[in-house]
Symmetry: C2
Subunit: 531 residues, 2 copies
């Protein structure tokens, strides 16, 4: 039996804990005591049978216990007679476990671990917060600025490393990518590794996974995690068209694949489950298949990682309780905050516009936004209290396009998205809430405290200081920053604005003052209460 953890607590402390444990359970059946961080990954490996087909013939699960808290996790076969159990402790302190298996060599294995205080960069997994937003498990807000590189893990290794290097200097805290390789315009190349045993392109034994593929894939997940980037894993997609056939496996193969993926990946705290990209374009699947896939994930992922499904033209019913947040493709919904905002009312969940067209110069209309337009869409989505996703599609002589293969970024939007991310991080911890959603009112924030307004293409030269009445009172005082969202400048407006009731709906500056604006498009205002 082999064990490994993420040692992060000082060795002396660990020794004391180990000693205590040994005293308490002298001669116990528990094999040893090991440390990992809370929300880190504990892994136990066991030798077991390698004959027959262990992927389908051998079951392995484990129950992790801390006081009355029990967590059941699935193990998986990693090839060459090695079986693994992964566990991400949701709380600190001692956890014990015991395995279950249909094979005597794997059943009844016991052990323990101690989940230590997380390291500084470990805030836990991202979850839903305040209905419409996200936060890490330790309460740190998470303001999603996503990007998309569908098939970056399926490119040659040097390109993958380049992608990671680019991401390290980019503003993105989430990336969407596919487990299966992609066969699509600008992306007709074979992957380095395949998820199943067999012969490319389409002679697969769907009953035998290729552990090397998954080991490689999870290495990338972990590297992203170390960079603070969430991995929005796309579990199915239609960009195969039968070339490999991963889009048209049997239900049994689909389900087995999902369980295997969850068993391997769920313990990584930066994993999100995106059931599919353009799920409705997968004509081999039925609506019932997608419902079943959700159920499989709900029942087998003990951590409740974020779950959604991304549409082509037909939206999934995101009101279903197993959908944690809404993942939307729409070519025009975020050109206007008044559009984007409507989804919030419908779903009462975080809204992520993962596909809003891309910055680039493709002939396809989904891939030729200007950088200005893409940045505008992010700002419109932000003041709608929603989130957006980036992608880049500049033609490349070798078809190395960020959106599919990663590599380097050529566009002008990422720097501006980083600027927006910083503005969001400096804003209300609870996220931006529309101030007056029933009206055409381009402000979001926290009523009475913080207002972020955005005027889009409108080149205003002045803005009368007027705010919706909610949570306001005569005499409150505010400062104003004028933000050039394209040139990334923040200019304080002169003086302080003191408000008084103006009419049934608005409070205004008591002297009727306006804020002078530069008369250029893409201007935002940040208004903060002075206390």
């Amino acid at each position: 039996m082999k064990q490994s953890g993420n040692p992060s607590v000082s060795k002396p402390f660990r020794c004391i804990l180990s000693a205590l444990w040994i005293c308490l359970l002298a001669a116990s059946l528990y094999a040893s005591e090991i440390q990992t961080e809370q929300w880190g990954v504990f892994e136990a490996a066991f030798d077991g049978p390698s004959t027959g087909n262990p992927f389908v013939e051998v079951t392995l699960t484990a129950t992790f216990t801390q006081n009355s808290n029990r967590v059941n996790v699935d193990g998986f076969y990693d090839g060459e007679g090695v079986y693994r159990i992964r566990f991400s402790p949701p709380t600190q302190g001692l956890w014990t476990y015991e395995t279950q298996s249909n094979h005597p060599r794997l059943a009844g294995k016991r052990g323990s671990l101690t989940a230590a205080v997380p390291s500084k960069s470990n805030h836990g997994p991202v979850g839903v917060a305040s209905t419409f937003h996200f936060a890490y498990a330790d309460g740190t807000p998470y303001f999603q600025i996503g990007t998309t590189c569908y098939a970056w893990v399926h490119q040659e290794d040097a390109l993958q490393e380049k992608t990671l290097k680019t991401l390290a200097g980019a503003p993105f805290n989430k990336i969407r990518f596919c487990v299966f390789p992609k066969w699509y315009s600008y992306n007709h190349n074979e992957p380095l590794l395949y998820p199943f045993e067999g012969t490319p392109p389409a002679a697969w034994d769907f009953m035998r996974f290729n552990p090397e593929f998954f080991r490689h894939f999870e290495k990338r997940i972990q590297q992203l995690g170390q960079m603070g980037i969430e991995a929005d894993l796309i579990l199915f997609h239609p960009y195969d068209k039968g070339h490999w056939g991963f889009d048209r496996m049997t239900s049994e193969a689909d389900d087995r694949y999902l369980r295997y993926v969850v068993a391997r990946f769920a313990a990584f705290r930066n994993v999100w489950w995106s059931l599919a990209n353009e799920y409705d374009f997968m004509k081999e699947k039925t609506p019932a298949d997608w419902d079943r896939f959700f159920q499989i994930i709900v029942s087998s992922d003990p951590y409740g990682r974020l779950r959604s499904i991304h549409n082509g033209s037909l939206l999934y019913n995101h009101t279903q309780p197993w959908v944690t947040h809404v993942s939307i493709q729409n070519g025009s919904a975020v050109t206007d905050f008044g559009r984007a905002i409507l989804y919030r009312d419908v779903y009462y969940k975080p809204i992520v516009f993962d596909e809003i067209k891309y910055e680039g110069n493709l002939p396809q209309r989904w891939g030729n936004l200007s950088a200005q337009e893409l940045v505008l869409r992010f700002w419109e989505s932000a003041i709608a209290g929603t989130y957006a996703g980036h992608g880049e599609t500049y033609l490349d002589p070798n078809d190395v396009i960020w959106w599919a293969k990663g590599g380097i970024l050529h566009g002008q939007s990422p720097a501006r998205l980083g600027f927006l991310r910083k503005i969001l991080a400096d804003g209300p911890a609870g996220g931006l809430e529309p101030i007056d959603k029933w009206q055409d009112y381009p402000f979001a924030g926290k009523r009475g405290e913080y207002y972020l307004g955005y005027f889009g293409r409108n080149p205003l030269s002045a803005w009368p200081f007027e705010l919706h009445k909610a949570e306001l009172a005569d005499g409150m005082r505010f400062t104003v920053d004028i933000i050039d969202t394209w040139n990334m400048t923040i200019t304080p407006a002169e003086g302080v604005f003191e408000i008084r009731k103006h009419d049934n709906y608005l409070f205004a500056d008591k002297n009727g003052r306006s804020v002078s604006l530069p008369g250029t498009p893409y201007t935002a205002l940040r208004i903060r209460r002075v206390k």
Copy 2:
């Protein structure tokens, strides 16, 4: 026993049928044979007990049978010892019935009726058609142009008659109004009749209905029906605040009221059920109450009349299968077709924006749209493939405001809405479908056949003849009408436009011609294929 029907078939034919029936069932238990139209109302009245409290102590139902088709309907107590059963035959031909009751005088009553060919103006009830639209049961399209007079049936009789007269000359084919009276700004008057026995304002016996109230109410429903106007009945509303207490009855009283209303009204084919106006503003109700109310209606309305529920700021989950269409209040969603259209994808049901602010001059922001703006909103909703609702709120010295009390219309929008209704009626029978919904594309219609475009406030002076490619082919020919939606003129553009493929997404006039436009706002284009 008393019976009445809507005689509409010639008397000789009726005599023959009657004679046949008598031959077949000589000395039968069936009382008689009577005629009504298909989708009309058959009513049977029975004498029964008047002591105790018949509203709660006596049950009465009937089963109507035609071959293997069985329809169960609830009867109701109409006061003074009279019990009634109403039935709207969904098919033509002979129907027999038998009553069930916990009282021997009312149990086992049998009878029959013959449902005849409907009269010319009787198209049956309105139902959902083609997912997003409506049609009458006989297939005739129904293009909803609604209005709202919340409390018109609760005003003095002369005013009610005036409202009906106004409606007779107005373009509306649906009206929203409340069963319960309304206590709200501009509407603080007692109604003529109350739904329960008791003493105004708030000493009610919720276990005893006031039949006179309901007889009056259903007279108004029938009068609307004769005018071809659907009655969108608002069953609960928050505009009471405990003044009468109809907004805070017990669950038992709520449920009994719903069953009584359904038993009385469901047979009228122009009835729609709107569970509430601003349901979420009724703080005495819980989400579970609304779900239960839907279930009561689903189970007790044998005809499946249209069902929805209208929000204040919190949308009901309209994806629930018991919601037939979506009724939305939103102050800004229909200012832009690109907003309105988004709800279609979410719900896959007809979308009716029943409250979009009103034409008027109230100080309240929901009641001071210009006529131009209200008409614009109807057009935006139309090219989004959705429907909108009118209301009028001009201040009146006697507070006789259309939106609440009816009376006469002062505004300039109704004529334009009538013009729109005519345009819709002249368009595709299946309703307007967005041509390219993922894009910012202001055209709806039927691809390849009919296109209705609308440019809103944009004062275009020319429009290059370009149409989205779907269902198009080189050589197709089209005529164009230029529509001034405000001045209600239709001007044919010169010549015929023949198309050829222009790029990946568009077909254009083969000679690159544009359509000259007047350079004024509120312009629409109607483009029809020449065959």
